[in-house]
């Protein structure tokens, strides 16, 4: 019970922070953390296969792709204003 309440609070906090922070990299890291916590929540809800998919796709692959996108954006900005 305490576990579920703490998990829900952490999920809400990381989601709000990821949506409202102005720093792109920080938003991506918070998104990855949100994905990991969401996988824990699915595991808690007796859905281990969805937890597996959430951890692999939600946190892992899209996290890496978003990090790559942030890197490209920074490089473009650096080329435009040296």
């Amino acid at each position: 019970m305490i576990f579920d309440l703490l998990l829900a609070a952490a999920l809400l906090w990381s989601a709000v922070q990821a949506l409202t922070t102005p720093d792109l990299f920080r938003a991506v890291v918070l998104f990855i953390v949100f994905g990991l916590l969401m996988a824990l929540a699915w595991a808690r809800l007796d859905a281990p296969d969805i937890a597996l998919a959430e951890a692999a796709i939600g946190a892992g692959l899209s996290g890496a792709l978003l990090l790559d996108a942030v890197g490209h954006l920074r490089q473009k900005r650096r080329e435009r204003s040296p």
Partner: protein, 90 residues
């Protein structure tokens, strides 16, 4: 034993909440990423504890994927974002 597993899982989750503070503050990007890696490792431990507290053996597979993910995220960070020419503060 199940009570001990659940108590330890709650304890590790409280640890994770403390690490959220480092993500929110972290002066350099690497500090934020290190906290995310700690989330991965502690998530593995929590999943294993939940699996033996009656969650079923399939959760061990999810823990395996958690451990694999950390490499992908960290390598993408080091190769793509944290280059030499950019300064340490994002």
């Amino acid at each position: 034993m199940t009570d001990l597993y659940l108590t330890l899982a709650v304890f590790l989750l409280v640890n994770l909440l403390a690490a959220l503070w480092r993500i929110a503050r972290g002066p350099t990007p690497a500090d934020r990423l290190l906290a995310a890696l700690l989330f991965g490792t502690t998530g593995v431990a929590v999943l294993l504890l939940l699996a033996y507290a009656g969650g079923g053996a399939a959760l061990v597979d999810a823990a395996l994927v958690f451990a694999l993910l950390a490499v992908i995220t960290g390598a993408a960070f080091v190769r793509r974002i944290w280059r030499e020419e950019s300064n340490g503060h994002s």
